[in-house]
Symmetry: C2
Subunit: 324 residues, 2 copies
């Protein structure tokens, strides 16, 4: 099977929202009047972002999910994406499963595959995603203000817990690993929450490299500091609540590491003024996404971690860096 | 140097055209009212699209050039691009040279780097480029009609000639190789010609996989056939005209292979009605880009190659396929 057959068989479907889809030199997108186009690119490399033996269906899901998560963080509605794919060989069952995982998530979000590139090479997946947002309404990292509440959606740390187990550094009960692995391999982009937070959140980003490191980006962009309650974030890992984990085989230090600096969570981290707490709760409910208030933005620069009594907790958690 | 320093040092510049550039979860693009956004992605893999020892400055140029060539083929004006880069290691002199080649070409076309991704992995460069085109004015592959003239811009075959020499399959005089290699490593995207051909060309695409193979895409999309004069295309290779090549060390079969099926030319292949020959000539002159009429579109399906006397020339030239 050649390059053009491969594209036709697995990745070409009729254009719906795009003015022109797969098969010409360019795809054509036409944002509605008054809308801006939000654009984000992510590249996934074997051995770095996923294991060689990952299920191709999960990989197709995750490759798009991490990009949709960037749109969610901007409060943009998914519109379309391009896929560039380097493959060591044409493996049809692999491609069929990859396309299934990819396109199922795309369909769930009405996000259309409009073009791309396929080539032979070490497995590499590069997706560029496009979303629409009303001009001036995008959620940015730079809008956090002293006094704002700090929130995070969903759960934190399970993806990292699974990674530690898969790397052989810790042992987990099989059922716990299976559930945590689901969070690592099939993250849920919080698109509906991002849309619901437009006009409410003062800043937002998605947690991909770890809570504290990513919060650092908001603080830097906003010129502010923050105080985070570690006694709350500790409870945001789902694995501790699994029945088979009762009694807890978990080292508290491991739980801190996973929840505060785990990475691969793809939850939304956002801020909003205290006067909008009811609006935040309504947005969470309308989007079916739990959110938890974990701290507050402060004028004093820096990131302070405290316990339930408000006492400082020492920490040295850094964000994941692909070149460290 | 970490990931964020790397992006800041080499790839972050103030946003000009984009509403929001490098540094948030998404870039924000706002096409002008009545404009569509043309989008294209290309991925370049070491050992497949370039040699490991290629000059990083040339590689930066080529990575963007092949994408701008797709915009040119649509008649779109370059607006912005994203860059996803997998690097085996942080090599600062390499990165500085790569960024120099990339951003010099970007600046020449007013095309702004608005976001992307960097990660560790086998060297892989994935660029997604955005251009603006008036709604309904994009040049497509599907508009060729029987009776239209068939044109190609610039020269054909020199990139492939250089590749054959670099692979050790042929020998070239050093000066000839140097000039042909320039065509392989620093192709010229025909952006100005593409813009000038809006409203004139009935169809267009860029020649990346070889003239006849790429023409096949126009014919398939347009439901037409074509007749190409091989005595004209043969003369479109520049190397034969170099003084040091006088007398010609070149095998005619090699010249046919390079010009008809060479690949990596990044010239524009386009069609226009004979009534618009003066308009085509004016577009070529206005854009400073030579164009040559090489054949015509016919109602009869298939691709016929003829000599100067109109006699059929047998050929078995296929297009380059990344999975064959």
């Amino acid at each position: 099977m050649g390059e053009f057959d491969l594209i036709a068989r697995y990745f070409t479907r009729p254009a719906r929202k795009a003015a022109l889809g797969v098969g010409d030199d360019c795809a054509l997108l036409a944002p509605a009047p008054g809308m801006q186009l939000a654009v984000s690119s992510d590249m996934l490399v074997e051995g770095r972002h996923f294991f060689a033996d990952v299920s191709p269906e999960a990989l197709g899901h995750k490759a798009l999910a991490v990009n949709l998560s960037d749109l969610a963080a901007c409060g943009a509605r998914p519109l379309a994406f391009t896929l560039a794919l380097a493959l060591p060989r044409v493996d049809e069952p692999w491609l069929a499963a990859f396309a299934r995982g990819l396109l199922r998530l795309a369909d769930a979000h009405g996000c259309e595959l409009v073009g791309g590139d396929t080539t032979r090479g070490p497995l590499n997946i590069c997706i560029t995603v496009f979303g629409e947002v009303h001009a001036g309404q995008a959620l940015l990292r730079s809008g956090a203000r002293a006094g704002d509440d700090l929130y995070v959606s969903g759960t934190l740390g399970d993806a990292r817990l699974a990674l530690e187990a898969l790397l052989g550094r810790i042992r987990l009960p099989a059922a716990t690993l299976a559930r945590a692995r689901e969070r690592l391999e099939r993250p849920t982009p919080r698109v509906a929450l991002g849309l619901a937070l437009r006009g409410i959140a003062s800043s937002a980003m998605d947690v991909s490299d770890g809570l504290l490191g990513d919060l650092g980006h908001i603080l830097k962009a906003s010129g502010a500091g923050a105080c985070v309650d570690a006694s709350i974030t500790t409870n945001l890992i789902a694995a501790c609540a699994y029945p088979e984990s009762a009694g807890g085989p978990f080292d508290p230090e491991l739980i801190h590491q996973c929840t505060l600096a785990g990475g691969d969570d793809y939850e939304l981290l956002f801020t909003a003024p205290p006067a909008l707490r009811d609006a935040v709760a309504a947005a969470a409910q309308a989007s079916g996404t739990p959110v938890t208030r974990i701290g507050r933005i402060e004028a004093q620069p820096g990131l302070r971690l405290v316990d339930a009594q408000g006492q400082a907790v020492a920490h040295g958690y850094a964000s994941f860096d692909h070149f460290r």
